[in-house]
């Protein structure tokens, strides 16, 4: 009896293992990228990305993300700054415009999909300072005479008149002093 049960149990386990198909291992993938290593801050860069499996076949419909370290409020974190989905040829184009300058280390990441294992690759840019990141449009009326300091002209005129009046006031005083001078002399003598 025990023997029978052991045979049946073994058979059931064997059958179960046999019914559930063993999961095939995900196919390894690899990312290659073609990009310009030297770029200018603020200008968009296009990364031409290719995702292939271990046998070199293209992987289509895969989402590739680009991470770069981003500084915010004194903290640096890897943030997604661009992404693209591969076409039938396993190719995708990712565009992004680096905001900072200097050596920038980025990561292209494929998080995996059915049958394909995740993969990633790093890339680096030398981001240089742009000659002018932003050129503002000239504001206001574009005329040689439209200058804000001209607002001071009427005030200067008025204050000059005030000074003239103060001078007239001193003349009033001088006229009074001149008239009373002989009297003062007479009084002292």
């Amino acid at each position: 009896m025990r023997r029978m049960l052991a045979i049946v149990g073994f058979g059931v386990v064997f059958a179960a293992v046999g019914i559930v198909p063993a999961r095939a291992a995900d196919v390894a993938t690899s990312i290659t990228v073609d990009h310009t290593a030297v770029t200018v801050s603020g200008e968009p860069v296009e990364l031409r990305v290719r995702l292939r499996d271990a046998s070199g076949h293209p992987v289509a419909g895969a989402l590739i993300r680009l991470f770069v370290p981003v500084q915010f409020m004194g903290d640096t974190k890897n943030e997604i700054v661009g992404e693209g989905t591969t076409n039938d040829a396993g190719r995708a184009a990712i565009r992004f415009a680096p905001a900072q300058t200097g050596q920038l280390e980025g990561t292209l990441s494929f998080w995996g999909s059915a049958g394909y294992a995740p993969s990633e690759t790093t890339l680096s840019f030398d981001v240089r300072q742009a000659a002018a990141v932003y050129t503002p449009e000239p504001v206001g009326l574009q005329a040689w005479w439209a200058r804000s300091y001209l607002i001071l002209v009427p005030f200067a005129v008025i204050w000059t008149i005030y000074l003239l009046l103060l001078w007239l006031v001193t003349r009033v005083r001088r006229a009074g002093a001149a008239a009373s001078a002989p009297t003062d002399i007479a009084a002292t003598s």
């Binding site: 607002i151 005030f155 008025i158 009046l165 006031v169 009033v172 009074g176």
Partner: protein, 459 residues
């Protein structure tokens, strides 16, 4: 000079010097000054409290950052207009009736400007930041234009008040009114005035120049005040007529201010002989004309906005006419504008009592008008959010009360030191009047013999 003129001159001097003499205030006067001083002191305490704890103790917030303080600022700058502007225009147009009231008008300007400018300091929260206006002056900012024009106006108004004071100060100096410090003050400020022809010529010339200069300066002040609003892209302020609208409003409220002050001083200092009903009637007529002009501007402003009904403007207009700000707006429109105009237009109500009542209503209405210009436009959201709210706290009420008390207090103290009537100008007016009466008018009089007898009779 005739005996009648001598007698009038003596009475004028007596009336002008009476408030300046020692003990002139009496118990009631001292109580009034003490009461005003207490209100001002309380306001200063509230301001110190605000400086210590920040603007958070006020009802101002990130939506409504201009509240009572800016309303008071626009109101007092408006009041200041009347003084110098009315005095200068009447002087330039040789309106002889102006003579007894010019000093009061000029005093109003100086006092109102000082009080009005102090409201900006209260609104700033941090008074030490006032220096930044100069240190980091931005010539493209209407706020800097405002600082420039108001400081120019204050300087000009002081000068314009001082110049006609010189002969009167000499009268006080010679009369030996007051104690030692006053004698020294009058002696210094009277510029050794002896009434010499050369001195008179220089003084009249200076006053004439000043009268011409001060008119554009005064107009510029309220125009620039209006531009602080008009040059901001906000519903209710985005207007091209704000310059003249504000100037007319300023003269309107300013004349009402003169009438009220005139009535108080006339009664308290018994100046009925010099400030007569005719002054109230003439100023009342001016007030009515300016009221009609202001009504026209108000209609023009709101009718054009109401016809187009742009999104922000229509929301604001609804709030003003039928919404939360409607009581203030309609009080202004009815009691501050229509009722006073009717009162000033009807012959039956063209008396001192009714003209003063109309003026008080105008001042109340115009303060509310400034309130509905400043607050609703700030409270109106620029994005689809809730309306901003503004509820003034005890700090703002206290500082506002102190501003009005300070206006009265400075006025009372000023009137204690300087004559409120321009004695020499009134005398000059009488002399001109007498000379005109004495001059024979051949075309109007029947015969030379009769002319001679008439002249003799009046001599």
């Amino acid at each position: 000079m005739s005996a009648i003129l001598d007698d009038r001159r003596a009475r004028l001097l007596e009336r002008a010097e009476a408030p300046i003499r020692p003990g002139a205030w009496g118990t009631r006067g001292k109580l009034l000054v003490a009461g005003l001083a207490v209100v001002v002191a309380w306001g200063i305490f509230a301001w110190i409290w605000q400086v210590r704890h920040g603007l958070a103790v006020t009802g101002l917030n990130n939506h409504v950052s201009w509240g009572f303080y800016l309303t008071n600022f626009v109101f007092f700058i408006g009041i200041s207009h009347a003084g110098t502007l009315v005095s200068a225009i009447l002087r330039l147009s040789h309106a002889e009736w102006r003579r007894p009231i010019t000093r009061l008008a000029e005093m109003i300007t100086v006092v109102a400007l000082i009080v009005g400018a102090s409201m900006v300091v209260a609104d700033m929260g941090r008074p030490d930041r006032l220096q930044f206006v100069v240190l980091h002056a931005h010539l493209r900012s209407p706020i800097l234009w405002d600082v420039l024009s108001i400081s120019t106006y204050i300087a000009g108004s002081f000068l314009y008040l001082f110049l006609p004071l010189v002969p009167d100060l000499a009268i006080l100096r010679d009369a030996g009114v007051g104690g030692k410090w006053r004698a020294r003050l009058y002696s210094t400020l009277s510029l050794r005035w002896e009434g010499l022809p050369e001195q008179r010529r220089l003084l009249v010339r200076s006053i004439g120049i000043m009268a011409v200069v001060i008119v554009p300066v005064a107009v510029s002040v309220h125009t620039v005040v209006s531009w602080i609003f008009g040059m901001t892209l906000r519903s209710g302020w985005n207007s091209t007529i704000f310059g003249p609208y504000f100037v007319v409003g300023a003269i309107f409220s300013g004349i009402a201010g003169i009438i009220v002050v005139m009535a108080i001083f006339r009664r308290v200092y018994h100046l009925e002989e010099f400030i007569t009903e005719i002054h109230f009637r003439y100023l009342g007529s001016l007030l009515m004309v300016l009221g009609i002009l202001y009504a026209y501007f108000t209609l023009s402003e709101y009718a054009t906005v109401g016809f187009k009904m742009e999104v922000g403007e229509s929301t604001l207009l609804s709030a003003l006419l039928v919404g939360q700000y409607a009581p203030y707006f309609w009080f202004f429109a009815i009691f501050g504008l229509i009722v006073p105009i009717v009162m000033l237009a009807l012959p039956r109500t063209r008396t001192v009592k009714w003209i003063v009542t109309a003026s008080v209503l105008v001042n109340m209405g115009m303060w509310l008008k400034r309130f509905v210009i400043v607050i609703p436009s700030m409270a109106l959201p620029l994005m689809p959010y809730e309306w901003g709210s503004y509820r003034p706290t005890w700090v703002e009420w206290s500082i506002t009360a102190a501003a009005f008390a300070a206006f009265a207090l400075v006025f009372v103290i000023f009137a204690r030191i300087f004559p409120v009537i321009s004695v020499w100008e009134v005398e000059e007016g009488w002399e001109i009047e007498e000379a005109t009466v004495r001059r024979p008018l051949p075309s109007a009089l029947p015969s030379p013999a009769l002319t001679a007898s008439t002249v003799e009779e009046f001599s």
